[in-house]
């Protein structure tokens, strides 16, 4: 017994140390974006495709006001209620004093400038795929937006989910760096994959989650219960949706379904974002969806 205790203690210490190491937030990449020239106009399209306003605009705002990214929208979940933060260029309440490497780490790795993990309500597991040039352009564009002089609302999350370090373990389990569609058959599908799996983060709503909130990649884009508790978000693989490529493109452009009903709820906002993109991007998204298994 005397021999066992030190071994057990040793194991526990080693385990804790290992746990501490693997849950550690990613370090800053100081040279991120070096040599890239920011293009804020191109950043506006990244901003639209990324759907930033859908979550970060103040609730109930419309039109131009939506560019004031004051945050505040609540996201109820099984783990508590998250609130979208202020990401306007306000130096105190927003991201006005962030550096590009800090911004890039926040968006693509889910780590705050203070070195804390973000909750995955922020879709960084999708944004990880962003090309550095897109991040640089997005950062430049967001600095041109109006300032919102209001503090972010705190998340209402209870124990143990309020321990941010635990999100490091979540990331170990669910931050999968590979694309779900492993092989893109051509350049258009590849662009569509970048948009669907990355920038436009379609899987966040259209893919079901496991008990810990991780996306079930085996059931990619096959539909999921609506987190609001009412109804279901539809599956959008060819097995679930028999729309033609032209039907999909029209839906992303005007919001019309093949029956000429209109997109509703959150999808109406997604359509108003996608409608701002070049038609080739909407075609690429459609091509990607048609390339998913089940077609």
């Amino acid at each position: 017994m005397r021999r066992v205790i030190p071994v057990l203690l040793g194991c526990a210490t080693l385990g804790a140390a290992l746990g501490w190491v693997i849950t550690r937030p990613d370090p800053l990449e100081q040279s991120y974006g070096a040599g890239l020239t920011p293009d804020p106009e191109a950043g506006a399209l990244v901003f639209a495709a990324g759907g930033c306003v859908s979550c970060h605009a103040a609730p109930e705002s419309e039109g131009e006001e939506m560019l004031v990214l004051a945050g505040g929208l609540p996201f109820p979940s099984d783990f508590g209620t998250f609130h979208a933060p202020n990401i306007s260029p306000d130096p105190t309440h927003g991201i006005g004093d962030w550096t590009l490497p800090e911004f890039a780490r926040a968006v693509t790795r889910g780590v705050s400038p203070e070195g804390q993990h973000y909750y995955p309500a922020f879709p960084y597991t999708a944004y990880q795929h962003l090309a550095p040039q897109d991040v640089v352009n997005l950062f430049a564009y967001m600095q041109t937006l109006p300032i919102a002089d209001v503090p972010s609302l705190p998340h209402e999350v209870g124990f143990p989910f309020n321990i941010r370090r635990g999100l490091g373990a979540w990331k170990v389990m669910f931050f999968n760096e590979d694309f779900v569609l492993a092989n893109a058959s051509d350049v258009e599908v590849e662009r569509g994959r970048y948009l669907v799996e990355g920038l436009a983060h379609c899987g966040e709503c259209h893919t079901p989650r496991n008990a810990l909130g991780g996306l079930e990649q085996d059931a990619w884009l096959t539909g999921a219960p609506n987190p609001s508790g009412k109804g279901r978000i539809p599956g959008i693989t060819p097995a679930h949706l028999e729309w033609s490529k032209a039907d999909l493109v029209e839906y992303f452009t005007s919001g019309f379904t093949p029956e000429y009903d209109s997109a509703g709820g959150e999808m109406a906002e997604v359509v108003s974002n996608l409608a701002q993109l070049p038609e080739s991007d909407r075609e690429a998204i459609a091509a990607y969806l048609k390339a998913l298994p089940g077609g």
Partner: protein
Amino acid sequence: MHLTKSITAIGIGAAMIATAGFAASHSEKAASDAVNARHAQMQLIAYHTGILGGMAKGETEYNADMATAAATNLHAAAGFTPDTLWLEGTEQGAVEGSRAKAEIWSDSEGFSDAFMALETASADMIEAAGTDLDALKAGMGAVGKACGACHDDYRGPKN
């Protein structure tokens, strides 16, 4: 004397119940007719939008005359006077098949503005549809936006 009074009271009571019953069934029919007529209006809108959409998608060949006719009818259907269609008491839950939110009546100004957006978009579409396919395609966005914006605020979830 007592008996006469009682009989009279029963008679009046029965008559009142019968009248109320008739009134109720009458307004029930009127309400469900109004909902059906609204659905017919929406169908007319969808049908003509579909003709334009088919051309926009390249499923049917662009034809300026047909496109103009579709846009003209779409505009006419969008311009129906609301008084006969959006009767009070015909919201979702009150009448079977209705998905009308109570906000249509509590915020009637907003609802009328939302419908006006479709009247404007469809009026522009008459011009665009007769011009060329690119103009038609561009016009679809505004029509879709008008439909979606109104549905978002004033249409309830699927029954």
